[in-house]
Symmetry: C2
Subunit: 347 residues, 2 copies
């Protein structure tokens, strides 16, 4: 994050900010937050206890109701060797592991159709229905991150796989269809253009400044917290109100190069951010996404690309303007959101 | 739309398709539509009659509760000269018309902040609360389109305005905060990068083939309907299930060059598509967006850019995967959606 002159108190006039990493403009408009609505309750309440373990296929004891398991992480402190995390196939996968992949070499400019080859897995983060990711200890979250890493490494060994997306949906209005705490991993036979755009933007910045854009220290006013290996910030041009990025302080293009020590450290910071967000925003539905680099990048890209984790509380609905232009309207200035998060006290 | 070999019946395997106009990949995955959900009702029901005219500032008689009017369209058949359409300022505008615009010439690569100068208006499409756009006669819809045109032309006269987005939100889960039938117009001091991307893609296609991509006849299987001046199709790589594009059959870069005859013709086709969508999908929340060209494009872009109107029923929630990658997962193949729409009978 290139630094920016400190500016507080926040201006009241609307402002457009350029997200240089994603090549997007964001409109900051505090006035928008005051508008009324004549529709009742926009986001259905998420009841973490609904559909208890009697019915939930992700609960312990219901393993036979799930698509095949890929691996499990055992609870070593438990004499019955119960599982703590399961990585399984998605029963309704977006892509199919059983069809012939498109020959990656033939992916030319004119190609308009590619076979839907790929992998779609679910990571069940806990055996127990009412437990959420942020209820785990930092090292428990670290263990989930290590399960992501392990599965990403397995998927990376398939030649036709180009990009791997790890993400989590929590709550119905963040898109979740299952309430049991879980995340997903999708391995794609293409590199999505938005990821190529990000990579190119990071490269441009590197060529102009000689520095990796995410290695640069963010301005103090955007910083929420730091741990040994990571920082958490509200990005300068956050698309979503109260969006958070967790960025490694060490240069690293690929999430899957993380080790156990760093994963535990990230686990602690991720837990802290989820707790702060939950306390400040009343347990909102949210998504998080790990933005990593394509599997096969050339050496010139290694020094300028840097992975990070984005957390997005889903507080509003994207509508016609955002769908049409890709510009988001954010009623909360990033420096204000960071300031609020800094002050949230987590027990 | 470049044509594509007919392929029916639909393949059951997932498939990735490239949206060449927006430079995006879309995953088509029929299996996804079968997945269960343990969250109850995802989209709050839209009751068109809620908040009747006693409270609604957009209803006739409540004009004083609104931000200032820009112009109105009168009902000439009415001796009291009641209004039929009002274009007003948005009371909670995303951008401000009262601040100094950024000097457009200084918008260089490095610019990260631009003053939030711009215009944000509301088009009230009918004086009566329970009437929706698709309840108007085709010529009534045409009149709304002519009101857009008139306001766009006014906004285009401001030097600092670069792009104008017309859009409509209908229903709470499509983002609407007001239930009275309306649309919005936002005039921006920048060209959103996604629009530059589209323009560049259209130019590439023109340079490769000598033809405007949207002047090309779409394959029969994607066609829903045609009118004198427009066609309606499901695009080859639709991001959303049952998405519809209405495309002028005549080459035209800017929506605002439409005339009354063509607006009435478009009004009829738009009404027909909204009716078909409402019947087939049980009155879903939806957005529509007019995708036009930036105000100031050079002559070389005039022959390759072509405006169109996109209608998106909001049937699912975008979640972590889509936010992260910009790739949508669509459970319905476009040829199947078009086939279904062709068969919906509108009285
Ligand atoms: N018995 C079983 N065994 C194995 N897997 C099972 C299973 N029962 C259900 N599943 C899978 O578990 C997953 C749960 O995922 P989420 O709740 O995070 O959201 P989902 O993928 O449904 O869709 C959200 O995320 C996607 C991707 O972002 C969006 O496309 C979509 O609109 C949004 O609702 C589903 O993908 C489902 O297929
Ligand atoms: N008395 C009055 N006079 C004049 N104007 C009045 C008014 N009372 C309300 N308004 C305005 O009327 C507009 C109604 O618009 P919509 O219902 O289409 O959605 P809204 O803009 O609220 O947000 C949706 O669309 C935007 C843009 O896509 C998204 O950012 C957002 O998340 C989504 O909910 C609002 O913008 C509001 O400010």
């Amino acid at each position: 994050m290139a630094s920016q002159p400190a500016s507080s108190p926040s201006p009241q006039n609307p402002e457009l900010r350029k997200d240089k990493i994603n090549n997007k403009w964001v409109i900051f408009s505090p006035a928008r937050s005051k508008r009324p609505s004549d529709f009742k309750s926009k986001s259905p309440v998420t009841d973490p206890n609904q559909n208890q373990s009697q019915e939930c296929p992700f609960c312990i004891g219901h393993e036979h109701e799930c698509a095949p398991e890929i691996f499990r992480v055992l609870d070593e402190s438990d004499s019955h060797s119960k599982w703590r995390i399961r990585v399984i196939q998605n029963l309704y996968p977006a892509l199919s592991r059983d069809i012939e992949p498109h020959n990656p070499g033939s992916l030319d400019m004119d190609c308009r159709v590619v076979a839907g080859y790929g992998f779609h897995d679910v990571v069940i983060e806990t055996p127990t229905h009412p437990v959420h990711l942020s209820d785990l200890p930092g090292s428990g979250v670290g263990e989930v991150l290590m399960a992501y890493k392990k599965r990403v490494l397995q998927l990376a060994s398939f030649d036709a796989i180009q990009y791997i997306q790890v993400f989590k949906n929590h709550g119905a209005s963040a898109g979740a269809s299952m309430s049991h705490s879980h995340s997903q991993i999708i391995a794609l036979p293409i590199v999505p253009p938005s990821i190529s755009t990000r990579l190119a933007a990071m490269k441009d910045h590197f060529e102009q400044t000689g520095k990796c854009i995410l290695c640069e220290k963010p301005p103090q006013e955007l910083l929420i917290s730091e741990s040994r290996y990571f920082i958490s910030v509200v990005p300068f041009a956050a698309s979503y109100a109260f969006e958070i990025w967790i960025i490694p302080r060490y240069h690293s293009p690929h999430f899957h190069d993380i080790d156990r020590e760093k994963a535990d450290d990230l686990g602690g910071l991720l837990k802290l951010m989820l707790k702060k967000m939950g306390l400040q925003l009343n347990n909102p539905p949210f998504n998080y996404m790990i933005h990593t680099s394509p599997l096969r990048i050339d050496d010139s890209q290694l020094s300028c690309s840097h992975w990070f984790l984005q957390i997005v509380p889903q507080l509003t609905v994207l509508a016609g303007f955002e769908v049409a232009t890709g510009c988001h309207i954010n009623p909360v200035f990033p420096q204000d959101a960071a300031n609020i998060f800094r002050q949230v006290h987590v027990q």
